[in-house]
Symmetry: none
Subunit: 212 residues, 4 copies
């Protein structure tokens, strides 16, 4: 029972941190701001988190973990790799588009330092990349996607496109539906991957060039 109360407070603090970090930026936010927003005393934060950085790290772990497992489950229900990519793009942009504060924290605040980012890349983000890559491999096995692709490269491209959509959305002064862009992105990507008989020679030559 106390376990649940505790975890409830932990989540409240994380929610408060998202709001505060999104609005003031991580470095301009004070721990006491987060505490006030969460309705707890400053010291209480330190009962649940090692330090201020740990708030950001926990935020990332928690939410990225949730996202990857949700995405995994969603993909398991689909067969077609192209469809899976569309679904992934949709989930990615929906998740961020649903909560602007969260998106700001993810797209901006979480990328403060190369140390932070390196840490993130090596952990949860790697899981996400694996998920994407697996879909691509499946598509290749099924003959739907080209064989000569640099798998890791295109995986990163997929992420990079979605990531840029999200960042742009945040920075834009206009209000628009982020998730609606997922179709366009996934389409571009799937077309780019597609096994297209007519352009064989060209692609081949490029690939060769890239190797040099």
């Amino acid at each position: 029972m106390p376990r649940r109360v505790e975890q409830g407070k932990r989540k409240e603090i994380l929610q408060a941190a998202i709001r505060v970090f999104a609005r003031s930026g991580f470095f301009n936010s004070k721990v006491s701001d987060v505490a006030r927003q969460a309705g707890v005393a400053d010291g209480t934060i330190y009962l649940y988190f090692r330090n201020k950085d740990d708030l950001l790290i926990s935020l990332f772990d928690q939410i990225m973990g949730d996202f990857v497992s949700r995405a995994s489950r969603a993909l398991a229900a689909l067969d077609d790799p192209a469809e899976k990519l569309h679904r992934l793009a949709q989930l990615h942009l929906e998740s961020l588009g649903r909560n602007r504060d969260l998106a700001v924290v993810f797209q901006i605040e979480l990328r403060h330092s190369s140390k932070f980012m390196a840490r993130f890349s090596r952990t949860r983000l790697a899981d996400y990349f694996k998920l994407i890559q697996e879909v691509i491999r499946q598509g290749q096995r099924q003959g739907r996607f080209r064989k000569g692709l640099h798998e890791k490269l295109v995986t990163k491209c997929f992420f990079g496109m979605l990531d840029e959509m999200a960042t742009n959305w945040i920075l834009s002064e206009r209000q628009y539906d982020l998730a609606a862009l997922s179709e366009g992105v996934a389409d571009l990507f799937v077309c780019g991957l597609a096994a297209s008989p007519g352009k064989k020679s060209r692609v081949k030559s490029r690939r060769v060039a890239a190797r040099s």
Copy 2:
């Protein structure tokens, strides 16, 4: 004469700032670190820059400005839009791959806060985006690229892919040639854009969806 001395010192300070910010991160760097690296007194920094933030802003303006004008000139010498995109990708990744410190500052340190990023997006980055978009339009006019594309979206995708390559390169523990990835990225993108008669119907429906 004083003009040249002045500008020389200004550039030296910016170079020093790149090194220092890249290695310690902007927030962990002290102004006095930059001064020491530049071989000037602390106060001298403030003769050339308003404050610590201004160092970062000036860095971005200067280098991004240089890059966009170099890229513009390079593209002017080419005709084929696909080739232009390959060249752009190459220039983008070469510029960053040539100077790791610079890349770190650009990919990470420059993205500290949404205020910073919003500022940047609205200025120099917009010029870069225009450059990309113009190439895409040209390709469409020439019938090389699909007509129904969401121009802005694909422009951002192109940038997003390259951006992710650069970020990954920085965060990677392995050392590899960043510029060598440009072919793969441009190829994926150009294939994605290509007018492909066989997939008409599908693309159309997607386009419609994206518009909604």
Copy 3:
């Protein structure tokens, strides 16, 4: 309970500030000097005061407020306006003469800038001036003081004389009893105010001149 602790510490800091400012001057005093003298950490100062200036302002408000209310009560116990003026002079010089550090802060350090002084004049000092002026009016109503007096002017004269006594005392290398001067000052002032039948013509002409 916390209220009392808090206020206790606040007063201790103010006492420390008086000592430190008096001995080194406000501008030459460091906040950390005040903290050390008060036996608290530097940061603690900022729990009770907005900034260094606020220390000085609070000092003035607190002590001047105390003085005026003490003086008001003391005068209420007396009838004769001349006696009241003697008492006021005595209280004024006693207050400062009792605590040299306080006097230094009041006579010198508190007068740093016209902004500071203007602030002070408009608030607590105005209360003190009202107190003096009321006594003078009473004396006039009772026929003890001349009728044609420029009330505000003589009020300021009274304060000015006492103020100069205090300043001189501080700057003097000799040690003497400041309060002992109150009689002389009050006597001079009361004589100057007195309704004196024998000098009518002269006073009248002067008075008229003063009005022009």
Copy 4:
């Protein structure tokens, strides 16, 4: 010939200093502000003055010296001690009332620290006090003023009253003629000093009290 040029520039710098110090306060004024106002380079200030403090000291010496010698000459032309006091009050308030910036510097900025003030009191101000005191003694010798007066005390009172007039004038939001107050002040003072047969006993007792 260079001598005159030099001195001209020195005076220009002092004039500039008065303006700048009056408007921003001594501590908030930068040496470079004074230089700009004087139309010279920063370094030039140091050809004429030892340091920033020296500007203030020179200001005081120069202007107070001028004032005292002018006042001495003016008094020499008069006989009646009461008239002399009126004239002195008039000169005092006229000098300050003529130039608000100068008045601000004299009444406020020059009183920054007890060290400054002690220095001033011991020098030029002492000359002024001697001037006043001499007039009072003359009045006593001529039987115009009371014998039992505490000469130094009343001298300081005279100065204190005028000083307060000036300070109040500066701090006042209203604009009025400062010199016009000299009559009222001098009148109050002369009345206070006057040999008044009818109040002999009273004064005596006060005096005795003051001694105790």
